[in-house]
Symmetry: C2
Subunit: 97 residues, 2 copies
Amino acid sequence: MPKAKQLTLDARTRRGIAKALADPRRFDILRHLAAQESCLGCGDLLETFPITPATLSHHLKELEAANLITTEREGKFLRVQFLRPTWEAYLRELQKL
Amino acid sequence: MPKAKQLTLDARTRRGIAKALADPRRFDILRHLAAQESCLGCGDLLETFPITPATLSHHLKELEAANLITTEREGKFLRVQFLRPTWEAYLRELQKL
DNA sequence: GTATCATTTAGACAGTTGTCTAAATGTCAT
DNA sequence: ATGACATTTAGACAACTGTCTAAATGATAC
């Protein structure tokens, strides 16, 4: 039976994730995304968190750079989705120590 | 049989840990400590990492504030020890999402 | 095109942080 | 007490970051 390929993180990526998680607002956004079955749009996030669109955009960029989410344009809207594989790879990494 | 009491982290603590982990140097120090059987002194850490004593002291304070390590004076020296229970509570917390 | 709505970019600002040097404190041996 | 060594504190500085406002871009409907 084929072994499931598991993402491993280099130090650079791990650092990016840690930084993304360090801001509580960003962590809350990520958690909110993780709790969804499918994608969310900015609109939902803007209703949920008291920040301006500009600030949200900034945080999404950080999360995306850390590979914790993906975003996809759908017409006017941006569909944002939690990337669980990265998250799980990060947890495995932390479990090593 | 008695159930083992497991530490749970409030949001404030979790934030403190995330912040402590966000700096790569601090993460490296923590990992180094976690890899030891017992305590380490500042001397060992200063040989291992190219930072001044003042900077090390600063980082140890952060890690201690996050409850990730404990320190204890032993004469001239400071014995530093990784606090695994906090670490494990943090991992359990992250696993929730 | 124009209007409208969603998102991004640019720029600014205040607050935080990692690091250092220099000086202070603590602890032990002589 | 003096000296030597370990650690901490104080203060400074540059770099980074979260946030905002204002303006720009993208996308759709009319």
